[in-house]
Symmetry: C2
Subunit: 258 residues, 2 copies
């Protein structure tokens, strides 16, 4: 299978536009050190109507002023979500070297489906790391605030020595608030959070994000002196990611900048 031509690339980053599963199939086996991603959660899906709603209005409260582009792939029911996730996860496993790492964001409601899919896809599930969005999130009267998202951690076979030899010790809980000004995607993650997560890998590593969105993973990888490969379906978000990457500073000690 021939590699598709990238939407954009430079010496540290490659961004492909298209369907994740198709693009992943063209990538060589064992060619990346880690998969770090934030897939569509399909979390609105209690009813077909709610799932079919536009994402630009679906996650937005009545009266909110900001407008952001649509994003696709957020309209599956629970069973389809699990099956679909297991498919791209299996393909990611092939592309990742043995010992490599998977870090995948998910919301509480899809957490059990996602841990199933990770294991069906052949990964060894290693745990859960909460991302505490702090008290800024919308409160729920009389109950516990839905304040956290979760990062599912897994490895391709036995743990590699990505950190063992560096004697690093990663936190098991990340507290980082969301700054809406920074969010270029409805579900955008803070760059600082991504950078802290990527500290599990040494500089020079290759990171793959099959759902790149506005490119936060790629920007963080670049800032940490890593190479990255992104896939994003929407051309609007591809353009946003390209503009961010073209404008964002590269890590000083990056092998790519040498």
């Amino acid at each position: 299978m021939t590699l598709p031509s990238p939407f954009w690339s430079d010496d540290a980053t490659t961004l492909y536009q298209g369907d994740s599963l198709r693009i992943l199939q063209t990538l060589p086996t064992a060619s990346v050190d880690a998969v770090v991603t934030d897939p569509p959660y399909s979390s609105g899906g209690m009813t077909t109507g709610a799932r079919q709603a536009q994402t630009s209005t679906k996650y937005v409260l009545t009266g909110t002023k900001v407008q952001r582009p649509e994003f696709c792939g957020d309209n599956r029911d629970q069973r389809s979500f699990t099956l679909w996730a297991s498919l791209w996860l299996a393909e990611c496993l092939r592309v990742t070297r043995p010992g490599g790492v998977l870090l995948s964001f998910i919301a509480w409601r899809q957490l059990p489906s996602m841990t199933d899919a990770v294991q069906v896809g052949g990964w060894i599930w290693r745990g859960i790391v909460p991302w505490d969005k702090t008290e800024g999130v919308r409160p729920q009267m009389g109950f516990f605030r839905a304040q956290c998202e979760y990062i599912i951690t897994a490895t391709h076979g036995p743990m590699g020595n990505q950190g063992r030899t560096r004697r690093i010790c990663m936190p098991g809980c990340f507290r980082e608030s969301v700054h809406s000004r920074e969010k270029l995607h409805i579900t955008g993650k803070p760059v600082e959070l991504m950078k802290r997560l990527l500290d599990i890998l040494p500089a020079g590593s290759v990171v793959l994000d099959p759902f790149a969105g506005s490119g936060t993973t790629l920007v963080a990888a670049r800032a940490n002196g890593m190479h990255s490969i992104g896939v994003e379906m929407s051309d609007e978000y591809c353009a946003i990611a390209r503009d961010r990457l073209a404008g964002s500073p590269r890590h000083v000690d990056s092998p790519a900048s040498a």
Copy 2:
């Protein structure tokens, strides 16, 4: 079915010794406001050998001197755990009034099984609240620290007004370190954490803990001015719980102390 005679009781607290499922069957329908518990996790269960190990050594690091009493019910495989949990959860649902709340601790590995069991048992799953044990837990070289346990939240049918009318807003993440001096049970939780969790209920509520252990839930309920019912299988832990309860101060504004 006649009520068994308690192992110990006073005007705020009742402690039964015996098998949870059997004791629960004797409790009246819709007689408690909340179930707050920390069931045996069966967390070692990757191999039968690991499951058959004695519990008092299983959770202790090599070379550690502390010895605590055995506790039972921690040797099930994944499927049996889910089935067993769904049984006592269903019985707890019956004993809980409509609108009442379930808060159940669980470790990451059993989290998906437990959310299944909660829903099989008829509860409406409302979310997950991480308990961040802070950086004091044993680090894992080269990977993310297993630093959190999780509290599964659920309700008996639509949400009651336990907090709506009081206009409370509960945190969605609890950061509280473990003090091993305070731990009378191998898996004992900090009393302060339990008290903060119980803030979701007004004083005077009735709390049920079907796996009372050393009685932390009961002690916290008493300190918050609530009534509580505990069930514990081991006579050693029953004695420990009784001694703690007999020696712990009662809440000043408690209706029980009036």
